[in-house]
């Protein structure tokens, strides 16, 4: 009702352009969507078993290199066979360790109202993470900088359909790597109140991040450890390796009760077999080896299995996203995640360089793949371009439009068949001649029956032309600028803000983190 009233006050269609410049978008409220659709299962039970058996054979016969001495020591103690830094695990051990992982858990950030339940039927969306560049329609492609970082963090906070910060939405290359994590987290923890990712890039960074998340939430050390407050994502170095800093960070997080997502980056035809079953089996083996390690070191630690299996352009080796192969690999991994009882992470990704038609068909395919695979956490769900090399505010806005549609798509009232929904009395009232717009059944539901977009333009060609014939990418750019102009950060207690700033100042004085990684 409020949205409708606001729209009327602003003059309906005629007020459209004006509204873009003077008030923020009318967006959907914060909600934790639950995906009611049965997952799409391309494989039958034998197929799932075949992938599992292949993964177990990889772990038993080929093994995984752990470039981390502590991990080798832990796994030696666990009874795994070690040759050099290659660890071979038996199926029984892997199965037993994976069974220790919870099928779901909740990450509670500094604002408990933004707590996110991971697992079950929940599907949650995160912002783009880690591109080294930004692009916008006015300035083109630019190296990532702190100003752009702040803008993208603000969009992350602003949109209610973004449930978590999946990492730095762009790398601020103008901040020295030794202190970048401190400045980035300070901005993220003050500009947002949503659950945050921290990078596992050596002990100092992840320990600093845990301290800062703890301080931001006003917790003591014990309270912090009592439940997941944050998360990290580690990638294997495919094929079949885990590196030193990521495993180190994962172990530190798990031992502190914080969530770890394990996402092999298995591009079929490059770091993984060209066949999807092979690529998925490799990905599963890599992920389970790290999860087994974490569950041995910290039984019951909250973990998520991730997939980033896609194909490459066989002409250039460039990664491709949102392809038929990507969608099926994601669905297949979803079947495996359910087989192991683990929450699943996938992504909203594309290869396109600008937020045009290709960007949206690739992104929509990956978002539908997330829906169809039973994904619980969708990384990069807003703002990603150029295979992850570009973060774009306009694309962020366009993606949020699609995410809102998906959220609305999951609301059961859409397919309700109670007497009110069947509307037989309205059908009898209107009969053969009337129009439904004026009837009471419609008027009672006028403002809530249908999802209201904010970036789509549904006017006819002539009205759209009279208003400047603005294409979607440009409309989205203007919306992003308008949101940023009005952005109000979430409240934070002054004492906490001071403690955070003091922590950052001290750690910067101490030199931050080593940069020899």
């Amino acid at each position: 009702m409020t949205a409708t009233s606001a729209r009327r006050r602003a003059g309906g269609r005629a007020g459209h352009a004006e509204r873009l410049g003077t008030q923020s978008v009318q967006q959907m409220g914060w909600r934790i969507p639950s995906n009611p659709d049965r997952p799409t299962d391309p494989m039958d039970e034998d197929g799932v078993r075949a992938i599992h058996d292949a993964a177990m054979r990889i772990l038993r016969d080929i093994g995984i290199r752990f470039l981390n001495d502590e991990a080798l020591e832990i796994l030696r103690r666990a009874g795994c066979r070690i040759r050099g830094d290659v660890v071979c695990m038996d199926a029984d051990f892997v199965t037993e360790m994976v069974a220790r992982a919870p099928s779901g858990f909740t990450i509670t950030p500094r604002n408990p109202e933004r707590a996110i339940p991971i697992g079950g039927r929940h599907i949650l969306f995160g912002n783009v993470a880690s591109p080294p560049n930004t692009w916008d329609i006015e300035r083109g492609k630019l190296p990532g900088a702190m100003e752009a970082y702040r803008d993208l963090v603000k969009l992350t906070q602003y949109f209610n359909c973004i449930h978590f910060c999946g990492g730095y939405p762009v790398e601020p290359l103008d901040v020295h790597p030794s202190v970048r994590h401190l400045e980035c987290l300070l901005e993220m923890l003050t500009l947002t109140d949503k659950a945050c990712h921290a990078y596992a890039l050596g002990p100092e960074r992840i320990e600093d991040a845990m301290q800062m998340v703890r301080i931001a939430a006003g917790l003591d050390e014990d309270d912090f450890r009592r439940q997941p407050r944050m998360f990290t994502n580690i990638n294997s170095v495919s094929p079949l390796k885990h590196d030193q800093p990521m495993i180190d960070g994962a172990l530190r997080m798990a031992r502190n009760g914080q969530a770890v997502i394990v996402t092999p980056f298995t591009l079929a035809g490059a770091m993984a077999p060209v066949t999807l079953a092979g690529a998925v089996a490799l990905s599963i083996a890599e992920a389970l080896s790290a999860i087994a390690l974490l569950q041995y070191a910290a039984p019951g630690a909250p973990v998520v299995i991730g997939t980033f299996t896609s194909n490459v352009d066989m002409r250039s080796g460039a990664p491709a996203f949102g392809t038929p192969e990507y969608v099926r690999a994601t669905q297949m991994t979803g079947q495996m995640a359910r087989f192991y009882g683990l929450p699943l992470r996938s992504s909203g990704v594309c290869a396109a360089n600008v937020p045009d038609g290709q960007a949206m068909w690739e992104t929509c395919n990956s978002l539908w793949a997330a829906m169809q695979s039973g994904t619980n956490m969708v990384y990069h769900a807003a703002g990603w371009l150029e295979g992850g090399l570009i973060a774009s505010p306009a694309k962020f806005v366009m993606d949020c439009e699609v995410l809102q549609m998906l959220q609305r798509y999951m609301e059961p009232e859409l397919w309700a068949t109670d007497e009110n929904a069947l509307a037989l009395s309205a059908i009898a009232e209107i009969g053969h001649e009337g129009h439904y717009f004026g009837c009471a059944h419609t008027q009672q539901r006028y403002s809530t029956a249908f999802h209201q977009p904010f970036a789509s333009d549904w006017r006819n060609f002539e009205a759209w032309t009279a208003d400047g014939a603005v294409w979607t990418s440009e409309r989205a750019h203007r919306i992003a600028r308008s949101i940023l102009a009005e952005f109000v950060p979430p409240p934070m207690d002054d004492a906490i803000r001071e403690e955070l700033s003091d922590f950052v100042a001290r750690r910067k004085r101490e030199g931050g983190a080593p940069t020899d990684y």
Copy 2:
């Protein structure tokens, strides 16, 4: 292998721009896709039963106006209750008639290799049909004309992922309505060899169309009638009416053994209840009433139930497409089609005015809705803009890119888990350090493992910029021009061509069809 070799000869990436201008796209071959995915069923069995019961109550208690005397006479004979032109049908009668309809059938056009099986798991794609305008990036929006009509028919023929001509891809407004059907069908039947739609706009037009399809296929009258050779689509006039010419055409087609698609145009909040269950129930009632009529008049006639249920923009009354409401309504209608054992038609639609990001997220949503609903015929799957008011060659090309991806997505080799697919020996061979690109397992599958797009640009930002930074809509425009420049019509026997031309010349001399509809 051929595609790859051609690509290499053309100089790989460097030859990209050149290829666009000098040779047609490397497209996927003709195939009849079979959709392996379990449909997405939002409603449970009680919900399906509730929609069915509501539709039966509408047919029994409110009835359907048939503005066609012959239909009224047939339904009176069938024992329906008639008050004026309102026909009330009992559930038993409707159920008995609907059960007469085949669950599937094949439409065989003049080229039997383009026969299309309708029903079961098949999903087939048709071109945009019936917009009164065209749009392209050079000329903007223009009233439909015969030259643009020919271009769009050529694209329909060119793309192997387009299985049927769903109608005039644009209305050639420069041809007088009395003879338009003759000129349009002459072009369609000579420029394509795919299954054609004919409009049910009065007896002369549909009879002329049947004669022309018969002549083009070199058939006598009996052979023509023996199996479906063509199809029509009729829309009810919602709420709860069927008009004179469409019912007339449908009856003529059905009695000649030709296929009839019945597609109510039920926009929730306008011609249908604002609630989806009500809109779907209304749509089902309207569709079943026409199907019951056809099955009484021509038992076993090939029919398809169509859905065009979407919502309107509550601010303007403009139709919206690819919305959450659209996707769910399509899935719900899919459940009803399976309940009745009827093939399903839906659409690939959008509200966007130009082929930009919005156009593609709306179109992708409607195409995924088609996949998820078990749709058998997807109307308007390529080239549609502005809610059906614009046909666009560039959008046609972009949509075909997406359709090819969907076709590839349905190929079972993607999720195969046989020994070759699991690739364990390749995984052992590469171990922890290698790259899969060079191994035999990859090289053997190099050219076929992954779908190769033709309109996507997967190059990085710098290579794409160096080549002109061409956005998808512009690339697609160039591809369309290139295809049209090289178009070769399918072969047709000279005698048949002459017979067709003679028929058209005679009917034009006779004045064509009346234009007082």
